[in-house]
Amino acid sequence: MPPDALLAAIQFDLDFFLKFVFQPSPALIGGLAITIYASVIAQAAGVVLGTLSALAGMSRNPLLRAISGAYVWFFRGTPLLVQMFIVYFGTPYLLGGIDLFPRDVIFGVISLRGAVLAGIVALSINEGAYMSEIVRAGIMSVDPGQTEAAKSLGMTYRLTMSRIVLPQALRVIVPPLGNEFNNMLKTTSLMSIIAVEEMFRVAQAANSATFKTFEAYFGVALYYLALTTIWSTIQSQIERRLGAGTTRIEQPGVWSRMLGLTRTRFDRGGGR
């Protein structure tokens, strides 16, 4: 097709698109809220699960090591989408009719949709398996001499971990953790399949009502892009702060990081 014919063939409803993006419907705002809070809760729970799993995996107790190994093996080795169906549709059958995810789940004053809770549970468990490996790598990056020194000072295991090892491991853990959260913001879209009204589901509904397919999906893609862009800015701030006084080279800024413009340390000609 010649370029001008291609140009003439393009159908793009600019009015619909601009309205979809800049005058978001209450449904889209609601979807955005679900995307954000589900990401934050699932990531936080994933960090806790992952840390516990990493510590269990490195413990001297063979049973704990086996549990951690099996957990990571299963949840990294099976698709999240399948896990989500198992959690939401499978568990009531397994539990003989006991439904952990009814229409509304009430925690004290907070009422949550059962589907949202099921989505967050699946995302958290899955994320924990990945975080387990990240935390383990972080702990292993700390020189064993640090642990030995702590022991020789009479520190307990708990004290050694909380005061000496984990703080140092954090510097190695945070960059991949940021990556995981970036991923999480996008992966929440899988919850659409269990009827969670997150952003992607709202776009699907807009598409099926209007057939503005490209406009709706591209519009919601921009929302995800905005979220991950904002997160990248926050992440580089966190990393700068954590890295202060420890690295000789300047950390790449958010824009150069996103656009892949990072330079090697050599073309800066040494320290600052």
């Binding site: 989408l81 549709f89 009531p92 439904d99 995810f101 009814p102 229409r103 059962g114 589907a115 899988l190 659409s192 399949i193 269990i194 009827a195 589901r201 699907q204 509904a205 598409n207 099926s208 009502a209 057939f211 397919t213």
Partner: protein, 290 residues
């Protein structure tokens, strides 16, 4: 996520019998149409004839109109039989591409398939995008737990209650429209839970997470009549008058549209349509056009 699974549909024994009875051509399978020249009474458009098959976009999650057999890979149902029969009458094969309902018209427009058959109402909104060859009239049904504990007979009865429905359907549109009415009247709205697959929407009712399932009446009746569901569900009401469902075709494919229309007319004339409807137990749930 909306994977397009490709498969050629094998004919079930029953359809085979039916087809051979109606056309006198006993071809062993739909994938070998060349061996059944007697059946091709209708000339397909050149592109279809050259391809040797019609590719259909079908959302295979809507029993008894389209669903998977126990093997999980063979698409079956009244729409599948109708599609296969249309191909047969044009002397070409049938390929069913499973496509999510909310993306099914875009898939047709993007030429991922030649036609859509998926229990689709030929609504004015959809007619802006595609043309239709109507083949049946179908109403909507509300499926509720046996005994109808919440007394749900109409859409108004759903005010303040939860209902599961498939995304992108006229059933969902009807609920949305009702919600606007309820809101304007200051009444509690319906909690509409939408699912990608209709079978998941029904699952939600089976798990007791919603008060009702909304689907087309043949589908609601089918779910209620499945042996494992006997005595568990009933059709609480049929809130919508029967509306035509049609085979969707791209607006520019007028030759194909005419050929499909001719095939449908012939299927009505020789009783094939009625046989298919009877075979899938839809006799009381649909209205024949002729």
């Amino acid at each position: 996520m909306l994977s397009l699974r490709h498969r050629t549909v094998g004919l079930t024994g029953a359809v085979l019998l039916l087809v051979s009875a109606c056309t006198g051509a006993a071809s062993p399978s739909a994938s070998a149409p060349a061996s059944a020249p007697a059946a091709s009474a209708i000339t397909p458009p050149a592109a279809i004839a050259a391809a040797g098959k019609i590719v259909w976009c079908v959302d295979v999650s809507y029993p008894p109109e389209e669903f998977y057999a126990a093997d999980g890979t063979t698409a079956q149902g009244s729409d599948i039989d109708i599609a296969t029969e249309i191909g047969k009458r044009m002397g070409v094969g049938t390929q069913i591409d499973n496509t999510g309902f909310d993306g099914i018209i875009p898939a047709l427009l993007a030429k991922k398939c030649d036609l859509i058959i998926s229990g689709m109402n030929s609504t004015e909104e959809r007619k802006k995008q595609v043309d239709f060859v109507d083949y049946l009239k179908v109403g909507q049904g509300l499926l509720v737990p046996a005994g109808n504990p919440k007394g749900i007979h109409t859409l108004d009865d759903l005010s303040g209650k939860a209902v599961a429905v498939q995304l992108g359907t006229t059933n969902k549109d009807a609920l949305d429209a009702k919600n606007k009415e309820l809101k304007a009247a200051g009444k509690p709205t319906i909690d509409i839970q939408t699912f990608q697959a209709d079978t998941d929407a029904f699952q939600q009712l089976a798990l007791g997470r919603v008060d009702a399932y909304s689907g087309d009446s043949p589908v609601a009746a089918y779910y209620a009549s499945k042996p494992e569901n006997k005595g568990k569900f009933e059709v609480g009401g049929t809130p919508i008058d029967p509306l035509p469902i049609g085979i969707a075709v791209r607006k520019e494919d007028t030759d194909l549209k005419n050929a499909v229309q001719a095939a449908i007319d012939a299927m009505y004339a020789d009783g094939t349509m009625k046989s298919i409807i009877d075979k899938w137990g839809m006799t009381n749930a649909v209205v024949l056009l002729k």
